[in-house]
């Protein structure tokens, strides 16, 4: 349906997209992932010409939309877009947001448009909000209205530009649920997202964008579990684990906690699990504090979706003693807490490194 060939986009001297060639077929759900600043959004915006490509061609059902005589507004009606910042028309009610395009652009009667709008609002679970105004809705509700507004135009494809990035974590899932629903109904979609779990189970195909290219593409399984190329692997690992090094006793515990919290949120872990992890890290670090003057400590937190468990690994050099076995521990309380929170505690010496591994079950 959409065929992109050698698409490029430059801002001045900065080449954001270098050479993108991809084909999107009807009914496909494509996730576009990659590090920030690699042109994922730009790619999407080039597709409907919100940004004008610097080179290449975009063929939609065989017609080149970059041709000078192309009727761009008409082409855009075939592929509506959902934005990160919702962009609802703030002077119109929810219902009018859904009908204005139908009436002005598709020539539907007011009655027809309203009926369609109400059906769609029911679909996204906001039938009761038809007469509200955008500033009276929560972020998640706004984004669901935005999706319904797209659907009202009967597009052949919907482009999602980071639809959940501007949302409170609590509202992410309601929006994702609506998108999942559309996917199940066979809607063709291209989604730029940072929600990896979502990307994995909703899409048929994942594009990993980096260096202005489609660096690697494949099924979700291929990309998330067996990435072939080096940068993809690094990216996937980075999402999966949190690494940091503590080199003195005066480390910033709050900054570390914030990192851990963000990581847990990304993995959509329950609040209870998050609390447990934070508490556990704090207690273990207390044990390690006297040792920090001798050698730096590496902390790694990773999450395995399959096992639904978190792994906390502490590594440092130094003599081969298990810090938790040390009889010099100030009191028994810390140790009790650690044993209670962790499902398993394992100490091992690997390649002259002391490695303490704790696992936590997702609750």
């Amino acid at each position: 349906m959409i065929k992109v060939e050698h698409l490029s986009k430059k801002y001045g001297d900065l080449a954001v997209l270098k050479d993108i060639t991809v084909e999107i077929k009807k009914g496909e759900v494509i996730s576009i992932i990659g590090p920030s600043g690699t042109g994922k959004s730009t790619f999407l915006r080039c597709l409907n010409l919100l940004d004008t490509p610097s080179g290449g061609s975009i063929l939609i059902d065989g017609t080149d939309i970059l041709a000078p005589n192309a009727d761009v507004p008409k082409v855009r009606r075939k592929m509506n877009m959902v934005f990160q910042s919702f962009n609802l028309f703030s002077h119109l009610s929810v219902l009018e947001n859904l009908t204005i395009g139908q009436i002005r652009l598709l020539g539907r009667s007011g009655k027809e448009a309203e009926q369609k709008a109400r059906e769609l609002l029911k679909l996204v679970g906001l039938a009761g909000k038809a007469d509200s105004y955008p500033d009276e809705l929560s972020g998640g509700q706004k984004q669901r209205v935005a999706i319904a507004r797209c659907m009202a135009m009967d597009p052949e494809i919907i482009l999602f530009d980071e639809p959940t990035s501007a949302l409170d974590p609590t509202m992410v899932s309601e929006v994702l649920a609506v998108i999942r629903r559309l996917a199940k109904d066979g809607m063709t979609m291209a989604i730029v997202t940072h929600e990896m779990a979502f990307a994995r189970d909703v899409s048929n195909r994942v594009l990993y964008l980096d260096e202005g290219l489609i660096y690697e593409e494949g099924t979700p399984r291929q990309i998330f579990e067996a990435p072939q190329r080096e940068k993809t692997r690094a990216f996937i690992n980075r999402i999966r684990s949190l690494n940091c090094r503590i080199s003195s006793a005066d480390y910033d515990l709050y900054a570390l906690n914030a990192q851990i919290e963000t990581f847990c949120e990304k993995q959509i872990l329950p609040a209870k699990t998050r609390q447990d992890v934070l508490l556990l890290v704090e207690e273990v670090l207390l044990v390690y504090t006297p040792l920090l003057s001798v050698a730096p400590l590496d902390v790694r937190l990773s999450y395995s979706e399959k096992k639904e468990s978190l792994e906390l690994i502490f590594e440092n050099t130094g003599d081969g003693d298990n810090p938790l076995d040390n009889k010099l521990l100030p009191d028994e309380l810390g140790l009790t807490i650690i044993n209670k929170l962790a499902e398993s505690v394992d100490y091992r010496r690997v390649n002259d490194l002391n490695r303490l591994t704790l696992t936590i079950k997702k609750i």
């Binding site: 855009r76 877009m81 962009n87 652009l105």
Partner: protein, 504 residues
């Protein structure tokens, strides 16, 4: 430092004490006093030359000068003998300090480019002096009480020729407005001139100081209003043979003049407030059908306000789009337009448009006023619109375009309704200030509400009532016009419909 302030303070007190001294005998006693003159007149130059130490206060209307004397804001004023008689009739507390302060010949001014008309006038003047018409006119206007004089009917001639006469409506006996018509010695004289020479005549009223300028720039063909023939004026325009002698007297409060000293005249019984207001109402509105002036002025003010707001809004929208354009060729001139227009006083702009841009075109001054105020309003409106457009977040434009609207369609359906709502509060304020700003159009011979009140004040010497009335009228105009904008504000409130539906 402290010393200087103290000495200034003491000299002020000393000054007051000196003024409080019993009785002035002549103008010379006031060589360091406060002297009020009509700005731009020969008195202005005379006082500056003869009493350089005096504090010179320039006024634009006789009414204001009289009021200042009565309120002791000035000591003495210089006016024409016949005007003085009229003034003293309604203001018995004033008296003549000195007669024949300055006597000068009075003439009709003609443009230097058209000497023919002046020759014709001189011939006409000779004729009426010979056949007794002049004497009859002089008796009528300058002999007894000019206020009682009745302007004779002079048929208008329907000739091809047409000349414009500029007057300042300074006062009787020269030019005044009664029953909504121009009357006075000068008016009768020029009307007779027109009748005899068979040309049509139109009278426009200007500010006195701008009479000579208007003639020199060709806006009018002749000027008259008791204009003394002075050297400076003769350089700019040509004067006819003198048709009268202008005799100046110095007027002051009787209580301060030596010869009126003695037991004060019994003060007239104090009138009640209601009685006073009723009297003022009668003399300022009913007498001489002065409400006609007010009504005309009101109409002019409303017309200028509405049309310049419309012109300014349309032009402002155009300038705004040019300013927002990415092309330098469009945005640069627009930016320049805005900074120049906003950086110039609207009065200066008004005069420039009238005397420079339309100098050689005979154009209705109301039209000129609409253009000038429209231009000024456009500069402000353009910036108001720009903030309105930029205030609508860019994402909505993108959403509109992504949906399939054209750029224009997005603007009309998405941006415009939100912009209108955003800018209305500021726009309303700008509009009110436009309505009030139009009060300066008197400078280019437009008789608006303010000018009408000036003319009335020049006849009744009542400062309070006409000013308050005009203030109330301006307020009512602004309020009424605002209602329409407020209606717009209500219907553009997206929640208005729902509120309305909810209240049913």
């Amino acid at each position: 430092m402290k010393k200087t302030i103290l000495s200034i303070f003491f000299s002020l007190i000393a000054g007051f004490a000196a003024r409080g001294d019993a009785g002035w005998n002549s103008l010379d006693d006031l060589a360091e006093g406060r002297i009020a003159v009509f700005s731009g007149t020969v008195h202005d130059a005379f006082v500056a030359r003869k009493y350089p130490a005096a504090k010179l206060l320039r006024f634009d209307s006789t009414a204001d000068m009289i009021l200042s004397i009565k309120k002791d804001k000035v000591d003495v004023t210089l006016v024409d003998t016949i005007s003085a008689a009229v003034i003293m009739k309604t203001n018995p507390e004033l008296g003549v300090l000195q007669e024949d302060v300055l006597n000068m010949p009075v003439g009709v001014g003609f443009g230097k480019r058209a000497p023919e008309l002046r020759k014709r006038f001189n011939r006409f003047l000779k004729e009426i002096r010979a056949d007794g018409t002049y004497d009859a006119m002089f008796r009528r206007w300058c002999g007894g009480d000019p206020e009682a004089a009745v302007m004779p009917e002079i048929p208008e001639s329907g000739g091809e020729e047409k000349y414009v006469l500029g007057v300042a409506v300074a006062d009787l006996p020269y030019v005044a407005v009664m029953d909504g018509k121009y009357v006075g010695f000068d008016v009768e004289m020029i009307k007779r001139f027109a009748e005899r020479e068979k040309f049509r005549m139109e009278i426009v009223s200007l500010e006195f100081p701008s009479l000579v300028t208007a003639l020199a720039s060709g806006k009018v063909d002749m000027i008259t209003d008791g204009i003394a023939i002075s050297e400076e004026r003769s350089r700019m325009v040509d004067f006819s043979e003198p048709y009268m002698e202008f005799r100046t007297v110095a007027l002051a409060l009787k209580s301060k003049i030596a010869k009126f000293a003695g037991p004060a005249a019994a003060a007239p019984a104090e009138k009640s407030f209601v009685r006073k207001v009723a009297d003022s109402f009668r003399s300022n509105i009913i007498v001489e059908r002065r409400w006609l002036l007010i009504l005309d002025g009101l109409r002019v003010t409303v017309v200028i306000s509405i049309f310049s707001a419309i012109l300014g809004t349309l032009l402002g929208a155009l300038v705004c789009f040019m300013r927002l354009s990415k092309k330098k060729a469009a945005s640069l001139p627009a930016g320049l337009f805005i900074s120049i227009l906003r950086g110039t006083p609207v009065l200066v702009l008004l005069m420039l448009v009238y005397y420079v841009v339309f100098a050689s075109v005979n154009v209705n001054p109301v039209f000129v006023a609409i253009i000038a105020f429209g231009l000024n309003f456009a500069a402000y409106a353009a910036e108001i619109f720009r903030t309105g457009i930029e205030g609508v977040d860019k994402g909505q434009t993108e959403a509109g375009i992504a949906m399939g609207f054209t750029k224009t369609g997005t603007f009309i359906h998405i941006i415009l309704p939100q912009m209108v709502r955003r800018i209305l509060p500021v726009y309303k304020g700008e509009f009110i200030s436009l309505v009030k700003n139009t009060s300066i159009v008197g400078y280019i011979a437009v008789q608006d509400l303010t000018k009408a009140s000036d003319i009335i004040r020049s006849r009744t010497f009542d400062a309070f009532f006409p000013l308050v009335m005009v203030a109330l009228l301006y307020f009512s105009i602004s309020w009424l016009l605002l209602q329409s904008l407020e209606y717009l504000e209500r219907v553009t409130d997206p929640k208005f419909k729902r509120k309305k539906a909810g209240s049913l």
